[in-house]
Structure formats: structure tokens, C-alpha cells
Amino acid sequence: MVIYRYRWPGRGLAVSLARLLCIAAGAACGLVAAQDMVTVDAGMASRVLACTACHGAEGRSTPLGYYPRIAGKPAGYLYNQLLSFRDGRRSYPQMAYLLEHLTDAYLEEMATYFAELEVPYPSPPLLEVPALTLERGRRLVQHGDAARGIPACVQCHGSAMTGVVPSVPGLLGLPRDYLNSQLGAWQTGQRRAMAPDCMARVARHLTPEDVSAVTGWLAVQPVPKGGEPARQFPGLLPWACGGIKGVQVQEGRP
């Protein structure tokens, strides 16, 4: 028997009705023993089981170590990603296939559902990253590299790197393989965002060594304060981003 966290008050009645319907339809379920019964809630939990097979129960990432955690990510970010998978800005055939016939309204509801889940983060994995690499990663994340025109990650992803509501994701608590593959995808155009695509621009400034350093540092950081996204950016955004509306930017549109 499966019990979800959120129980719909009318559940008992619904189950009785369902049983009646089953019997009326003469289906095999008239004979279902108690231990074989499945019940569902009226909310989102049972509707997003297709998501949690990969993204983990309640949107945590799985120990398999690739799929990103989605619980607690800002709703606007999740919604934009769902639209991007469905409409082809992000290239991942399994996601595109799943979302093909879902409406904007329903995708937004899913995004909000996962954004509101508060699930504790596990401790960061023990990865062996050389100290020099870690230091290079830390500097890029916190200060960028002005000489090469690379903004600091924290300028957009928040001073604690836990993201900024409603549209910028936190980058802590993610598998390093996932981070590497995303930066690679931004560089090759496999992953895109709404124009102007600021993240693609950042990624194309990074060398393979930069990518390795940044993801190495990010992947081993503990997640502060339950990973809650910040309410505001630490300062002006360095560049304009299509996915972030109504904020001031240091430079005009590129």
C-alpha cells in the first residue's frame, strides 16, 4: 500500500466509490486484497511519479549521480526548463517526449509543486579534487575573471550559490557529471535559453580547465540553509538574460 504525504480529505469516499465502480464494471479489482490496493491523492504527488523515477522521490536527485535535484529550485527556473525541453531549446529526447502534450498551465503547476518541496540536502559527496583546481574554481565562482571578461557565478546565482527567485537556479548539491555536461551543452548549443542567452555566453568564455575547476568546487560544497534561493541579486546583473525579467543590467543588450 502506498501512502503519499498529502492526503485528500475526500479520499475514503473516493476509494469506496472506486471500489463500487470496479464492481459495477465487473473488473478483476473487485477481488483485490487489501495489501494489493493502491490509493492516490488528488494533488500533484501522484501526477508527477513520472518525474520522480529519475529525479528521485520528492524531486531529490538519485544516488545514480546524474539526474539533477529539482526539489526547492525556483519555480520560474523549473517552468522555463520544462518549456525549453518541450519546445526544443534543451535537447533531451526523453524529457521532450514526456512533455510533448502537456499545457503551459500544467507545466507551471508542476514547477510550483517541486519548487515548494522542502527536502533536506545530503552531505556533499567525497570527491578527490586537487587543491589547485579547487582554488581556481572558488575564484571563478566568487570573483570571475575580469581580464577574460568572465563574470562571477555569484552575481547571478546568488552570493551563497543557492539561486535567486524566481528564475535563477542554485548550483550546489548537484552531481559533478551533471554540471560538466550542462556547461558542455551550453558551449555546443545543445542547451539554450531564451534570448539573449546569457549562460551560453558565459559558458563559451570558459576553457575545459575552467569548467573542471568550477564544477569540482561546486560539487563538494555543503548546501547552506537548506538550499533556499535568495530573494534578490547581490548587485546589478552583469549581462541581460532572456529568462530573467525586470532587473537592471550593468551593460545594455549585447
Binding site: 473488473a27 501522484s46 519546445d87 526544443g88 526523453q94 512533455l99 510533448e100 502534450h101 502537456l102 503547476e109
Partner: protein, 435 residues
């Protein structure tokens, strides 16, 4: 020694050549006009209330034809074309139907549009590939064609150039197309069957013309022609590797025994007490049939219920699957499937389909089932079912053996009886190879 496939191909080529010669000799110098009315019937004055009504009617009919489904690329502007349609003969890229005068059909006349629908010819007289289902659309009446055309004229222009098809020789030539048409296509004209009710006739018209149900549900021969004697008898969808179940067989997708309102519910919401849609049919419901008005949905239900039912094809007596396979399958089922589909395959009404006694589970070919397990899928979100449940993809969780075992178990548990699924079937599906 020649492989049988080579012999088949050579034979097909020989026939094609022969037919091409015949077709060249009989090449019509003028398009077959059939029932074309003279003059341009889009004589309805633009901007009048009548014109607005015609456009509205056209928008509805275009949805019933699911024009937008093929003529829109992923994330692209509606009707701007560019979607790749995979066929056994290569890729066909759909065309721009927006009102753009150069890239779209903004410079077409209503008669030219009707020629495309009715006769499979483009504005310049070129023969069109039957991936555009003019073998069905040929039944569309001139009045409906004109309404759809009026609507397409109202679609904002998008300057997106058409992409040339990528078809293999000899399928890329107009001669091959002419030969194909000589074999498999005659322009048609719709006549109601006076012995039947108005409702039945309306349903028959929608199913056979705009609904183009036969494009998937009628089996095709090796050259992609419909096997007319098996109309709606079920078949593999060319290029998609999904099996479109038979509509004339109550053991497949026939609805002869369903109450009318359940058929209406399936068409308009994607979900009904005795079944739900998946794969290509989910697209059809999402983009087309959910918009059917009550009357038309009911007419289709009447027609489908009265389709003469054929006795289920007698399957070769299958050997009972090995006990060890069933046990392994049950272990996979208990771990990954029972949570939603229940300990005895009973499902949950309105959320997760039952597997016991489910026709989709018992189809002789397991291709659809394998696809569903590997790729998962949501029911389409429709006005009547806006927050559907979904099934996760298992392609990175289960091995080919796991999928074969669990499906064999599901097909032979709780009173189910269907042939075992082989690991090789799963492997082929995973690799995107035709079964």
C-alpha cells in the same frame, strides 16, 4: 545467393518501372479536376460577418484534420512547417502553410488549395508525397476545403523557407510518385450513403476524410500503399514503429461494444473507463479530437460502433513462457510497477490503467508496450483532463532482459494470456530499429 530482401527490392523496382512507363503514357496533361467548381469560390467578401464565420469554421475543420500537428516544428511557429516526418523511404519535411506570399501559401487560390487536398498536387502542378494524407483528404468537400483555406489565409505570415525532402532513390522522383499514384490513388468525391442515418454519414465523412484515421489504422504494403481490403484493420505506422490497433476488431481498438459516451470521452479527453490513449494517438487527441464538438464526436462514435467487427485474427498457439522468466518478471513488477498498477494489475480508476484484461497489454505485437515501458509518457493534457497522470521512462533503469521479463509476466498474469516478449524485441525498440 541473393538475400530475400534484395529480391523483394528488385521486384519492387521492376514493378515501379513498369508502372512508371504506363503512368507516363497516361500522364494527365491537365489536373484531374473531378468536382471542381468554376471560378474562385473564395468570393465571400473579406471582412464581412459571413467571412468571419467561414474562417471560424475553417479553424475548427483544420483542427479536425490536425494540420497543425505535422505543419509545425518542435517549438516552431504554428503552421510554419519544417517538421521532419520519418517514412520508410526517407525524411519528408512539412511545408509552410502560413499566409506568407513567398514561403507559405499566401499567393495560392482556393482552387489550388483544393487541388492539393483533393488531388495531391501542389500549386505548380508537382505531385505531392502521400506523407501528406491526401489519400484521405481527397474525400473532403469543396466547401470544407474552402473554409480551411480561408482560415489558413488568416494565419499570420511566417517567412520560413521550406526544407527539401531527403528521400532515397528512386522515391525522390516525380516518376516514382506518378507510379505510386497510379497504383494506390484515385481522387474521390464524398457522397452520403442514403441508407444510413445523417449521424452515421457525418461520422463516416470525418473518419475517412479530415480525421485521416486510415493513415495509421489501415495496414500498408511494402510500397506504402493502403491495403484497402483491410481498411482500419490495424497496422504498423510507417517510420514510427508504433502499432495502430485495428478499429474493426473489439479485441484491439474496436469500440463496437463501448457505450457511445465513452467513445466520445476518449476522443475529447484522451481517457475513458476502458482505455486511454498513448503514443501517436496522444498527439491526435491533444491537437485534434479534443476540439471535436459534441455532435461531431457523437457522430464519429456512431460510425465507429457500427464498423463491421472482424473476428480477432487467430494467433498461432503460443508456447507458455518459462516459469523462471515469469518469476524474474514478477520481481521486476513488484519493485517498479505495483506501486501504481497495483499488486494484481488492477490499476486506479482515473489515474493508473489496469493491466489485467487491458487490450493494449494483450495485443499480439508487443511494440507499443515496449515503447511505453522504455519511454514512459503522459496522457495528453486536454480541456476535459487538464492534469493527466504519467508513466516514468524506464530505459535507463531496466535492462532489455528486465523489460522482456516484466512484460512477459504482465501478459501472462491475472488471467492475461499473450505471447512472451523477447529480449531482442526490446533491443530493437531501444535501438530504434523496426520490429
Amino acid at each position: 545467393m541473393m538475400r530475400p530482401q534484395c529480391i523483394k527490392l528488385l521486384a519492387a523496382l521492376a514493378i515501379l518501372l513498369l508502372v512508371a512507363t504506363v503512368a507516363m503514357l497516361n500522364w494527365p496533361t491537365e489536373p484531374v479536376l473531378g468536382s471542381v467548381r468554376e471560378g474562385d469560390p473564395s468570393a465571400v467578401v473579406q471582412g464581412t460577418p459571413v467571412a468571419a464565420l467561414v474562417v471560424e469554421r475553417g479553424a475548427y475543420l483544420a483542427r479536425l484534420g490536425n494540420c497543425v500537428g505535422c505543419h509545425t516544428a518542435q517549438g516552431g511557429a504554428p503552421y510554419a512547417g519544417g517538421r521532419a516526418v520519418k517514412t520508410p523511404f526517407g525524411m519528408v519535411y512539412t511545408s509552410n502553410l502560413t499566409s506568407d506570399p513567398l514561403m507559405g501559401i499566401g499567393a495560392w487560390s482556393a482552387t489550388e488549395f483544393w487541388q492539393a487536398l483533393h488531388n495531391g498536387r501542389s500549386k505548380d502542378g508537382r505531385l505531392l508525397y502521400p506523407a501528406f494524407p491526401y489519400t484521405s483528404y481527397t474525400w473532403v468537400t469543396r466547401e470544407d476545403s474552402d473554409a480551411i483555406f480561408a482560415y489558413l489565409r488568416s494565419v499570420p505570415p511566417v517567412a520560413q523557407a521550406n526544407q527539401p525532402h531527403a528521400l532515397r532513390f528512386p522515391y525522390d522522383s516525380q516518376v516514382a510518385l506518378a507510379a505510386w499514384r497510379a497504383l494506390f490513388f484515385r481522387p474521390q468525391r464524398w457522397e452520403d450513403d442514403v441508407r444510413r442515418s445523417v449521424e452515421w454519414n457525418r461520422g463516416a465523412y470525418l473518419v475517412r476524410s479530415l480525421g485521416h484515421c486510415a493513415a495509421c489504422h489501415t495496414p500498408r504494403n511494402a510500397l506504402g500503399g493502403s491495403r484497402e481490403r483491410r481498411t482500419l484493420g490495424g497496422g504498423m505506422i510507417p517510420g514510427q514503429d508504433w502499432y495502430a490497433p485495428a478499429l474493426n476488431d473489439p479485441s484491439q481498438a474496436g469500440v463496437q461494444e463501448w457505450p457511445e459516451e465513452e467513445i466520445v470521452a476518449l476522443l475529447r479527453t484522451g481517457s475513458a473507463p476502458r482505455g486511454a490513449v498513448s503514443g501517436p494517438m496522444a498527439e491526435v487527441v491533444a491537437r485534434s479530437t479534443q476540439y471535436l464538438d459534441e455532435e461531431d464526436a457523437r457522430a464519429i462514435a456512431v460510425y465507429l460502433r457500427e464498423l463491421p467487427a472482424h473476428a480477432p485474427s487467430v494467433s498461432s498457439e503460443s508456447v507458455a513462457p518459462a516459469q523462471a522468466m515469469l518469476q524474474r518478471g514478477q520481481a521486476v513488477y513488484d519493485r517498479h510497477c505495483a506501486q501504481c498498477h497495483g499488486g494484481v494489475g488492477q490499476g486506479v480508476a482515473g489515474a493508473f490503467p489496469p493491466l489485467a484484461g487491458n487490450r493494449a497489454v494483450l495485443l499480439e505485437t508487443p511494440v507499443n508496450l515496449i515503447r511505453v515501458v522504455l519511454a514512459g509518457g503522459f496522457l495528453p493534457a486536454t480541456v476535459g483532463n487538464p492534469r493527466p497522470h504519467g508513466m516514468p521512462p524506464f530505459l535507463h533503469v531496466l535492462s532489455d532482459e528486465d523489460v522482456a521479463d516484466v512484460l512477459t509476466f504482465v501478459r501472462n498474469a491475472w488471467g492475461n494470456r499473450a505471447p512472451a516478449v523477447g529480449t531482442i524485441d526490446v533491443y530493437r525498440a531501444r535501438e530504434g530499429r523496426s520490429p
